[in-house]
Symmetry: C2
């Protein structure tokens, strides 16, 4: 069993094109021996956002703190608050934005292959 | 994209032998079309606990609220607080206990097959 505090895990800026003022912490992933899926925590600072993009794998998200916005495939928006669970299917356009004045924090799980060395993105 | 509030999802008592005073909410799972993993939220009420057991699939856990305890394979205990991430490999004995005076809440992800109709546990 592996137990670690989120506060002990270094955050790294998300440098993917289209991302702004967003850090990622790898809570549990292939480096821990997790075979099937990886748990990441994202902190989107005020005014920041993740890329408006799509990819061939799904997201399972749980909002932990702050006030955000999900951009839906048709371009419309939905507000996100702590406790909201979000499923983004593979190949669907999406983006998460901070629309509050404090950090917008969520966990986002993806298949483990996303963080394998041959496909690290 | 599916967005739903945790508060809108009914909790069901965990009736697995060895569980006590614990409810589960299925936040995202096969019923939502999630192909690879399922996100469940557990609320362990004061004095309650999950089963002391093992199984052929892993857990990825994030503590959300309360004060808990993880029982390790050697029988020793580790305190758990909000923000703690826990990885339980397949086939490793484990248990989660509430050792506080408020609800102990965590999410726990498992491979989707665990909640497929042929192997619903």
């Amino acid at each position: 069993m592996i137990i670690k505090s989120t506060s002990s895990i270094a955050g790294v800026p998300v440098t993917m094109p289209g991302a702004s003022d967003t850090d990622m912490q790898m809570l549990l992933g292939p480096g821990d021996g997790c075979p099937n899926f990886a748990m990441r925590k994202f902190t989107v600072h005020p005014g920041g956002h993740t890329p408006h993009h799509q990819h061939d794998y799904e997201h399972e998200v749980l909002v932990l703190a702050g006030r955000g916005q999900a951009v839906l495939p048709d371009g419309s928006h939905r507000l996100l608050s702590p406790g909201d669970a979000v499923y983004v299917p593979a190949n669907q356009m999406h983006q998460f934005r901070n629309v509050g004045e404090a950090d917008f924090e969520f966990i986002c799980l993806v298949p483990a292959r996303v963080h394998q060395p041959v496909n690290c993105s």
